[in-house]
Amino acid sequence: MKLTQAPVQDLHLVNLVKRFGSVAAVDDVSVTIPAGSFFALLGASGCGKTTTLRMVAGLEDPTSGKILLGERDIAGLRPHQRPVNTVFQSYALFPHLDVFENVAFGLRRRGIRAVQEPVQAMLDLVELGSMGHRRPSQLSGGQQQRVAVARALINQPAVLLLDEPLGALDLKLRRQMQIELKRIQTEVGTTFVHVTHDQEEAMTMADTIAVMNDGRIEQLGHPADIYEMPRTVFVANFLGQSNLIAGRRESGGDLLTVRAFDHLFALPAARSSAVGPDVVVGVRPEKITVIDDDGATSDERVPEGHNRVRGVVTDVSYTGVSTQYLIRVPWGAEFVAFEQNVLVGDRCGVGDPVILHWSPANTFGLSADATVGSQAATADSEAVDGELQVR
Amino acid sequence: MAPVAPIAAAPLIGGVRRRSGLAYLLLLPGMLWLAIFFVIPFGSLFATSLQDSPAGLFGNYAQAMSEYWGAYVRALAYAGISTLLALIIAYPLAYYIALRSGRWRSLLLVLVIAPSFASFLLRTYAWRTILADEGPVTSFFNALGVLPDQRILSTGLAVIAGLTYNFLPFMILPLYASLDRVDPRLIEASNDLYASGPKTFWKVTWPLSMPGVVAGTLLTFIPASGDFINAQLLGSPQTQMIGNAIQANFYKLRDYPMASSLSFILMATIVILVSLYIKRSGTEEIV
């Protein structure tokens, strides 16, 4: 049964700043979160994502900036006046009320008397239909989490904020809940803003991810876009792993060549966000193929046009599904490469000389000192009035 | 006398304290009440102590010290001995409840504070029956030949016995609270290392229970030093404590300036003790 939904609106954060003393926890954040989307704020602890969330909820006051829901600036409203609800990291279920009353809490405070039906419907939605009379202390972690979601969602908020809600759950349960939350969001249609430090979680669940670092949004976009084409060194290293090579552009045009450490790397111009002659060339470990270097025939086995590097294997980690190699390359850096164990027993050993190769199309390029603020217009994002928007 | 709330200092769970004017509003009625009816009286007490001075501004103080020096010293002595006795008696019980009692803990705590539900005066008075000259207790000690006056009542012994008894809960509860926080695994580990009960106790348990010992000592010694009830009901004019002196000057002699000076002298001693305590432990844990 689809719950009737009040029309949701876009959420705009405009130049949001939050200072604690002299420290800026949130440093000029501007972003538009489209209505009905599943949006993730991703970053390490202390990057400002939770503070941003709390400002939207009204539990922190911004030092400056605007929070617009549709046309309306809600930054001045007290939390209980905002059509925004939060699922807390520790769930914060009221211990002195049973599950039913917990879920009914928001309705009652708004003066709604007829709570029986909506509460039961919501409990059914989160598959806790028979647990209404239990106390929170009698529930498992996963069940408590679902009560917290139900309690927030029943108020049909314009935006639902989730503050690392899955952090306390074990791995298996977390995976389950990720799918659950995604299903609920699709069914109900509310905008979800999900704060997390787990990049896998963000990529699994979100339509759009904003990667935050040091109080600013470093990159914004669809999971695949951000992953395959990180724009800053931080994003390249935070989201998955990257092998980065600092070099200098030698030629331009549709296919760039970059010289680094006596090697020449090629990548399509469209896959580089670098401005200026200094380019950091990057490639994800899973895009690299590792072949034995027997000196004679190996060069011929590398496809035409591929970027290639010779090296020596320094570590082999067998993880069942794949093998993870660490390879020392001529200029002293260590490359990471993942190979799927497609064939049984086909692995290199420590000390083996190898050639690494990958397609230029799988390469990305970024500026060495890329930080937030470099608003170079590229294929998948556009700067509009100083605000990053995702098309 | 009634039970004392155990010294508790739980850490602030999550969250930061808000800065708000509301705080002052919440604090106002109670703190104002304390300011008017606790702090200011000390001012009037001081003013009263300067009245009718026989010689100079602080004449009353000089006279108080010369006349009641004995009572003052005796009060400190009785209170000190009682506190020590209370510590020795209370510690095993507190230790047992905190670390050994298992599911009987709540019941035992109830039993500790329960006697405080009966009138303090009556409990003290009951010792007159228990320590009566012909009674079993006195006869027993007399048979051992340890009593200098052949009696317990009307001597310092009875007063000390009364003080120790009455303030025992004030020693048990802080000790219990402190021992309750000791991780039993520390004791286990220590037994592994030292392989001896007494050594584990002195090296591990005792130091860890120090906050409770200090709190209990303060909460016992201070009221005991100012007590006059035990001395009055169980003692004699020879066992006069400073509390008795204050009471006598108030009630019988109606010499309020003298009573005030005596009060201030007692207060000065206590302030010194409390400030030493605060210097050691700070102010966050005392409330």
Partner: protein, 266 residues
């Protein structure tokens, strides 16, 4: 050797408990006494006279009722003020925190003789008559500190995220207090009230200095101690003791039954 210490410790512990109860037993037993003289100090013969005639001795019931009245009034006022202070201490930042803590601690550490007498000095100075009002004011004064300590412990255990969740769910600050904060700290407040009443009812020294001609139950006992304490006093005191003990035990068992029921998932 461990079993020796365990055995010995248990014996000592229970001996101390017994020691605590000896005077109680004496009081109770003597309430069934028919004393030979007016001093109820030694056992004479069994009698239920005192119990059947609780108000038989002049002044006994009057002072008892007065103590109850003072207890109720001072407990209510002091508990409310103490709760407010406890909330402020735990939840808010303000200037003068150290001074506040010290001022709350001092009444618990000051000898009653000093508190009682200095308060009288103030009342005399203000020409405020000693009596019912003066004693009530005094009781409120020293109960506040105990109320603060008791409620504060409970408030510290209250997760502030719960209050944030309430605000997030459309509860105004007043509604948050009423529907979340208050219900959760209520046991602490009740505990503070019970403690406060016990302190007030049994207070002697402070009341003594400020009562004038009025008599509270303890003051009556003190006055009677010289002339001989009537047996009714023992009966009343025993009755109060049993009642108080019953309340505490019932409260405890109710709490543990509820706990067990919750755990069983009823």
């Amino acid at each position: 050797m461990r079993w020796v210490s365990k055995y010995l410790l248990r014996i000592v512990a229970f001996a101390v408990i017994a020691y605590l109860f000896v005077p109680i037993a004496v009081i109770a037993v003597l309430s069934f006494n028919k004393p030979a003289n007016r001093y109820n100090l030694a056992w004479n013969s069994f009698s239920l006279d005192a119990w059947k005639n609780l108000c038989g001795f002049p002044g006994v019931c009057q002072s008892f009722v007065t103590s109850v009245e003072i207890g109720v009034i001072s407990t209510i006022i002091a508990t409310i003020m103490g709760t407010m202070i406890a909330i402020a201490l735990v939840r808010y930042r303000f200037r003068g925190r150290s001074a506040t803590n010290i001022l709350i601690f001092l009444p618990m550490a000051t000898p009653e003789v000093i508190m009682g007498f200095s308060l009288l000095a103030l009342f005399l100075f203000l020409r405020f008559p000693p009596g019912f009002a003066a004693v009530t004011i005094a009781h409120i004064m020293f109960i506040i500190s105990f109320a603060v300590v008791t409620v504060k412990a409970r408030v510290q255990g209250l997760d502030p995220r719960l209050e944030e969740a309430a605000r997030d769910l459309y509860a105004s600050p007043a509604a948050t207090f009423r529907f979340v904060t208050l219900p959760i700290i209520l046991p602490g407040i009740v505990g503070a009230a019970l403690l406060g009443f016990a302190l007030s009812f049994d207070d002697f020294v402070i009341s003594y200095f400020n009562a004038g001609t009025m008599q509270t139950f303890p003051i009556f006992i003190w006055g009677a101690a010289q002339r001989g304490i009537p047996v009714q006093v023992n009966a009343l005191a025993t009755g109060v003791f049993v009642l108080a003990l019953a309340i505490v035990i019932v409260g405890q068992s109710m709490r543990s039954t509820r706990q067990r029921r919750l755990e069983r998932g009823l």
